[in-house]
């Protein structure tokens, strides 16, 4: 039936305005056609997640040859803890990269946010840990960020900063959970400030965030009074990168996430087809959702078995360092694809002029994107401190931001704006983290290879992006 409709719709003289004009939208493709159209899409410059997933598999195959321990349960179980901070920082960066901007300060922002939290718990109240000048400078800066945010209509960001102010004024900041919340609100304040400088004043984001990247490294030394603070004594914080959900809750998590995805996409496909809207074929949706659910179930099954080589105590369940970033990724995806705000963010990244003429407040979009990026950077800094055991004097400095950018780019996010997905950050972070992990498993392999291989992978990812882009343009 479909072939016939296509023929008639494209012939001149077919009746005007009938729904037959939109043949591609309403024709129902078989699975073979869907796969061939997917292939066409890959060839025409929208490779989606394919290159990064393939890269992940290739690297996994190579490292499984390097060391037999690589694919062991224990090693795989360690990956999330080692990579969560890259994944979370990269998630935040996706929002900024979608606008065609960059945030070089995300790593060191995470550093100071974790530093404030650690200092607050360590000295039982931030007031005791910081010099009077720094404490009141922080309070003033956060109040200023709220005022700035209200003016720029970033109300949610203001709310998060206000919660942080309440936490330090009520003295709750000596509790771990509230201290970590406070870290996020410092991140939001930093983001509002950065967004104001970039979006409203109009300084290039590269320069603004480069300046902040340098400045925060100094601020961290003030915050810590030049003394690193360990966080291993705080079970909640330590647990973020090291502990696991109980096996029961792991199953609940997997079933809710994978089942929810399968159910949502299936219902969406059925409903859209019933209403004659463009939709993926039901078989395609079921196959795709089924594969994802199967992978999730297999991973959960293996994660729920004891993976500790030491027989004295058990390690089992999905690591929090995997479930927290995945939950954040789902929230980001919903925000970006299902809300008007997300649509406006994509439009601003694709063509700021088009967005402005469509009545979108481009400044507001920029400020909110930077606010989210810095808030996620704070969470990333907390994960990093948890993974390394404490807030060191250079937490978040060095390569960390660049690894996060690389993760987003390897996943398929464009540095030119307008193209990218939260899941890119997660897949890319996995690629980034298995390289040092795999090399570390064979002591005879010098660690120098690590950066060389990471660089090569990044280059390949960027080349795939550029080539598919060029093909896309040429095909037009």
């Amino acid at each position: 039936m479909t072939a016939q409709t296509t023929g008639e719709g494209s012939r001149p003289g077919a009746d005007f305005g009938s729904s037959g004009s939109f043949t591609l939208d309403i024709e129902r493709r078989t699975i073979a056609q869907a796969i061939s159209s997917y292939w066409t899409r890959i060839r025409s410059g929208e490779p989606g997640a394919l290159p990064s997933v393939l890269g992940l598999i290739v690297l996994a195959l190579i490292f499984s040859q390097v060391s037999s321990r690589f694919l062991g349960r224990n090693n795989i179980g360690n990956l999330p803890g080692q990579g969560a901070y890259i994944a979370v920082i990269a998630l935040g960066l996706v929002f900024v990269l979608l606008l065609g901007e960059i945030d070089l300060s995300a790593g060191t922002t995470g550093g100071i946010c974790a530093g404030f939290a650690a200092q607050a718990i360590n000295s039982h109240h931030l007031h005791n840990g910081l010099s009077t000048l720094l404490y009141w400078a922080l309070v003033g800066a956060m109040a200023g960020a709220i005022a700035l945010g209200l003016w720029l209509k970033t109300y949610t960001g203001c709310g998060v900063v206000a919660i942080g102010l309440i936490i330090i004024f009520t003295g709750l900041d000596s509790h771990v959970i509230f201290a970590l919340l406070f870290a996020v609100s410092v991140g939001a304040a930093v983001g509002i400030f950065t967004g104001y400088l970039v979006g409203k004043i109009g300084i290039p984001s590269f320069i603004v965030t480069l300046a902040l990247f340098l400045a925060w490294q100094g601020v961290l030394l003030f915050v810590l009074n030049s003394q690193p603070i360990g966080v291993n004594n705080y079970p909640f914080w330590y647990g973020l990168a090291h502990n696991n959900m109980s096996p029961t809750w792991s199953w609940v998590f997997t079933i809710v996430v994978a089942g929810g995805y399968l159910l949502y996409t299936t219902l969406k496909s059925i409903r859209a087809q019933a209403q004659g809207l463009a939709a993926d074929t039901l078989q395609l949706v079921l196959v795709r959702g089924g594969v994802i659910a199967l992978v999730a179930l297999v991973i959960t099954y293996f994660a729920n078995q004891n993976r500790n080589p030491n027989p004295n105590f058990k390690i089992e369940g999905l690591p929090w360092a995997a479930t927290v970033p995945i939950t954040l990724m789902i929230l980001c995806t919903i925000a970006l694809t299902k809300t008007p705000w997300g649509r406006h963010l994509f439009a601003t990244g694709g063509s700021a002029e088009a967005a402005r003429r469509a009545g979108i407040d481009v400044v507001h979009i920029r400020v909110t994107a930077f606010t989210i990026c810095s808030s996620f950077a704070a969470i990333g800094g907390v994960f990093l401190a948890s993974n390394t055991g404490g807030v060191q004097l250079d937490l978040g400095a060095g390569n960390i931001l660049l690894f996060a950018v690389a993760a987003a780019v390897i996943g398929g996010t464009s540095l030119f704006g307008g193209r990218g997905r939260p899941r890119d950050a997660i897949i890319g972070a996995l690629v980034i983290v298995i390289i040092p992990n795999g090399i570390g498993l064979r002591p005879s392999l010098p660690a120098q290879y690590q950066n060389v291989i990471t660089g090569a992978v990044l280059l390949v990812a960027a080349a795939v992006d550029a080539l598919s882009r060029r093909r896309g343009r040429a095909g037009r």
Binding site: R271, Q275, F346, A347, S351, A358
Partner: protein
């Protein structure tokens, strides 16, 4: 004769010492295509920007359905039902056709995007314009041809019950077949009762689709003529020298403008 839906009377506009528009009169009638022609720098863009509310006016009156209005904000024009399709189209390449057509005016359900509803409305809007060149409203705009992009931009403008549409050089970057499609579309817009203003350099296009032509010469309306009573030569003369035979500016005024 029908009453004009949009009427501009005695509009003056200066940028500093430069007097860009002199006592311009211009009218748009429902169901008609009015062409606005003129050489580079004649003031076409300034006139459009004054109507769009991007530029303020120094003196003169803008009447909408006979009532004086002030248009000092782009949203004021949109609220009346005046839409502008600029030459660079202002479409976001990374969004699909539906998303572009509803950009900034998304339909929401419980605060989330109602994509299905928007898709259906986008398809209805394109179908009402008898657009047959677009096979899917879920295509990315980046993958469209110039003519299709122009079509989407125009459909976007008429999606909102607009009454007057300004088209700035809609065929400038198009090939022969695509120009044909866009010109047909322009006629259909007028056929639906919209007032269409066509800003163009291309005399063939103007003679073919416009009902009336207003020629701007150095900031003054040289003449407003009906296409059926005039020739391409006459209009070209009006554009280049401000007068043609016994119509147009007096020689004194024409020279004074320089």
């Amino acid at each position: 004769m029908a009453e004009p839906i949009l009427e501009i009377k005695g509009l003056n506009k200066s940028f500093g010492p430069v007097h860009v528009l002199h006592d311009v009169d211009f009218s748009v009638y429902p169901g008609e295509v009015s062409a606005l022609v003129g050489d580079n720098g004649a003031g076409k863009s300034t006139l459009v920007k004054c109507i769009a509310g991007i530029n303020s006016i120094d003196s003169g009156q803008i009447r909408w359905e006979g009532k004086p209005v002030t248009l000092n904000d782009p949203r004021a024009a949109a609220a009346l039902g005046i839409e502008f399709v600029y030459q660079d189209l202002a479409l976001a390449d990374n969004l699909d056709i539906t998303q572009n057509m509803f950009l900034g005016r998304e339909i929401r359900k419980f605060g989330f995007l109602a994509d299905g509803q928007m898709e259906r409305k986008a398809r209805e809007a394109l179908a009402s314009l008898s657009v047959r060149t677009v096979s899917s409203v879920r295509q990315l705009v980046a993958n469209l041809s110039g003519g299709q992009r122009q079509t989407v931009a125009i459909a976007k403008a008429v999606l909102w019950d607009s009454r007057v549409v300004f088209l700035d050089e809609p065929t400038a970057a198009l090939g022969v077949a695509q120009t044909r499609q866009v010109l047909d579309l322009v006629r259909r817009l007028a056929g639906q009762g919209l007032g269409v203003v066509l800003i163009s350099h291309n005399m063939n296009d103007v003679m073919e689709v416009a009902d009336r032509v207003a020629a701007l010469y150095l900031g003054r309306i040289a003449a407003e003529v009906f296409t059926k009573d005039s020739s391409t030569t006459q209009i070209v003369e009006l554009i280049t020298s401000g007068r043609s035979g016994d119509i147009g500016l007096t020689p004194a005024t024409a020279n004074q403008s320089i």
